[in-house]
């Protein structure tokens, strides 16, 4: 296997495993705790590297995890016993442990530390790859199996505890697994950018979907693709460092998700809003036509927007001639529903919400567009199927057809 192939494989595996854990890191709001860990493990990494002249990945990992544990214990201790706030404690532990690591490096100068500081995917050898493979295999097996439990514990720890879940065990296991993945990720992207591999793919996935399972899958994909892209680009341009390129590729995918993600992306939200406002404007036209039929002469003829009229005509809701616009029977039914919603809502506001009669119209003008059939039925039942609105106008019933 060439160096490039092993680098690509490493990027793939790393993307998968950090994506898997990353979605839980984001959901549990541990993004900056992860940052703290990636800095806090440095003294352990240096100790592990300095032990022997030949690098033993497992030893380094163990020392690093120990350092991470010490960092975490220190953090919890400070939180519990002083009045310092969590953000300050986190920043403190992060930077002081890192400084300790730097001090040790400047003194001992162990071989191979460059790889951990800056990330050198190219320096990942057979043993590292095996370790990465093992960790990925474990994570890929354990996380899907424990998915439901892990989700429950992450979202509502107290509830999980009540149900008898060993929350403490989950927390510790997650923490240890996270630290291991962080140490491995460090070798690829460097100490500062581990957070990019853990957090960015998962944050991107949140723009795309509600479900945690899909988030996890998407973040694995983004992590893998971003990582591989970074390795590929850096291999083709010798002067560019791999770690930052992996982080930047992943960030580009994040930007794409932020713009285009179906759940909360900028463009889909904009289009949704636009289509909603068109719907509302169209409904307002139908309603105006209906009210004109109910009380001709009371409402002045209005100018309607051409584009909306075309859409309504195409949908079979209005009938147009050169000079007039009229409701079709379907359109009339639709408009009747709207007016029904409006007037039921006015009743509801005056009877249940203690609104004054002269205050309900504006609210109903807005609310009428958000009352679907189910809610309208609920309203009608709650109000006892009234015949009149608070202003004395009759509330259209569902089956009635207005005779023109």
């Amino acid at each position: 296997m060439t160096a490039l192939h092993s680098a690509l494989l490493a990027a793939l595996l790393l993307g998968i495993v950090s994506g898997l854990l990353g979605s839980f890191v984001v959901v549990r709001r541990m993004a900056l705790t992860g940052d703290m860990l990636s800095h806090a493990v440095l003294p352990g990494v240096v100790a592990g590297l300095a032990w022997n002249t030949t690098r033993n990945p497992l030893l380094v990992l163990i020392c690093a995890v120990l350092a991470g544990v010490v960092g975490s214990v220190t953090m919890n201790g400070l939180l519990r016993h002083t009045r310092l706030k969590p953000d300050a404690v986190l920043a403190l532990v992060l930077s002081v442990f890192f400084a300790l690591g730097i001090a040790m490096i400047s003194r001992v100068q162990p071989a191979g530390v460059q790889a951990f500081l800056y990330g050198q995917v190219a320096a990942i050898d057979q043993r590292d790859l095996l370790l990465l493979l093992a960790v990925t295999a474990i994570t890929v097996t354990v996380v899907p199996l424990a998915f439901r439990s892990l989700s429950l514990v992450s979202f509502d720890a107290s509830f999980a505890r009540l149900l008898g879940f060993p929350v403490r065990f989950f927390d510790i296991a997650f923490f240890l697994l996270l630290t291991v993945v962080i140490v491995i990720a460090m070798q690829a992207v460097g100490v500062v950018l581990v957070t990019a591999m853990l957090v960015t793919p998962a944050a991107a996935a949140r723009f795309c979907t509600h479900s945690l399972a899909k988030t996890t899958a998407i973040s694995c994909a983004i992590g893998a693709v971003g990582g591989i892209a970074g390795v590929w680009i850096s291999a083709s341009r010798d002067s560019l460092p791999t770690g930052p390129l992996m982080a930047l590729s992943t960030t580009l995918l994040f930007a794409a998700a932020a713009l285009l993600g179906p759940r909360r992306g900028w463009l889909p939200t904009l289009l949704r809003r636009r289509s909603e406002s068109h719907r509302i404007a169209g409904e307002d036209i139908l309603k105006t036509l209906w009210l004109r039929e109910e009380a001709p002469g009371l409402i002045q003829p209005l100018i309607f927007k051409e584009g909306l009229l075309k859409k309504l005509a195409a949908a079979g809701l209005v009938h147009r001639t050169a000079t007039t616009v009229d409701l079709t029977p379907t359109g009339r039914d639709r408009a009747a529903m709207l007016v029904r919603s409006h007037r039921l809502w006015e009743r509801y506001l005056t009877e249940y919400a203690a609104y004054k009669t002269d205050h309900v119209h504006d609210d109903a003008e807005r609310a009428e567009h958000w009352i679907d059939e189910a809610r309208m039925a609920l309203l009608a039942t709650k109000l006892g199927n009234p015949a009149l609105d608070p202003h004395g106008r009759s509330i259209p019933s569902i089956d009635k057809e207005v005779n023109t």
Partner: protein, 257 residues
């Protein structure tokens, strides 16, 4: 004055996507002492926040002293909820009271003798002058409340907004605060207080505003403090109201086309 001291129109506010206030219309006259009551989550604190411009409303507007907030800065006093204060902050009782006099200090201004005198006087009015040098974390609940009340007094404002000033205070502090609020009202200030205790509400306030996501009732205490009105206020959430309000705020899902 014919215009109200505080006026809101059709004020709707969401918090994290959930509607908290819907269509709130209020008029509070000058020189009055109004209590805002309602169940938990009714939007009382949110109403204060919307008035102070800390949260943006989805809909509607607020006018203070017949003007938008931006034009009357420095004339609105504020006493926060105890739980929102950072009691570990390294400031003394006096420092807090002094902060009430900061309006009008430029970027590089330092509070002078007059400011310090005003702060001290305010502390005397709330009975905290002896504890002026204490760090605020070392105070009892009642003392903490009186410190922030002093800060508000030092502001020498025209409208005062207070968020549960009676929560967790001892009886002596409660009497002090009631007495002070009455004095403020008598000197023409407009005092608006979010309150939690039904029993005392009737005694303490001239006017009541009963809130449960929307205004249930508003007016002189004798008119408003009635069993049927109270039952509507505290009788539970209007699920349909919050449901429809949420949908329109989020902007999704009407009838199918």
């Amino acid at each position: 004055m014919s215009t109200p001291a505080l006026e809101t129109h059709d004020l709707s506010v969401s918090y994290r996507g959930k509607p908290v206030l819907h269509g709130v219309d209020i008029e509070i006259p000058y020189g009055s002492l109004t209590g805002i009551m309602g169940p938990n989550g009714a939007g009382k604190s949110t109403l204060l926040k919307a008035i102070m411009g800390v949260v943006e409303p989805d809909n509607g507007w607020v006018k203070l002293l017949d003007k938008p907030l931006k034009q009357v800065l420095g004339r609105i006093g504020y006493v926060p909820q105890r739980e929102s204060v950072d009691w570990d902050f390294p400031v003394t009782v006096f420092d807090v009271a002094l902060m009430g006099t900061y309006a009008g200090l430029g970027w590089f201004g330092r509070p002078g003798k007059r400011h310090r005198a005003r702060a001290m006087e305010a502390l005397e009015q709330t009975g905290m002058a002896d504890l002026a040098k204490r760090q605020i974390g070392e105070l009892s609940g009642g003392q903490q409340q009186r410190t922030f009340l002093a800060r508000a007094l030092a502001q020498d404002a025209e409208i005062y907004l207070m968020d549960e000033p009676f929560a967790g205070v001892d009886a002596a502090t409660e009497r002090t605060i009631v007495h002070l609020l009455g004095r403020m009202r008598d000197t023409g200030k407009t005092v608006i207080v979010v309150h939690h205790d039904l029993q005392t509400a009737q005694r303490y306030f001239d006017r009541l505003l009963l809130l449960n996501m929307r205004v249930v009732a508003h007016g002189p205490t004798e008119e408003v403090f009635r069993p049927d009105v109270l039952e509507t206020t505290y009788g539970g959430k209007l699920t349909l109201l919050s449901d429809i309000a949420a949908r329109s705020a989020r902007g999704e899902g009407g009838r199918k086309q």
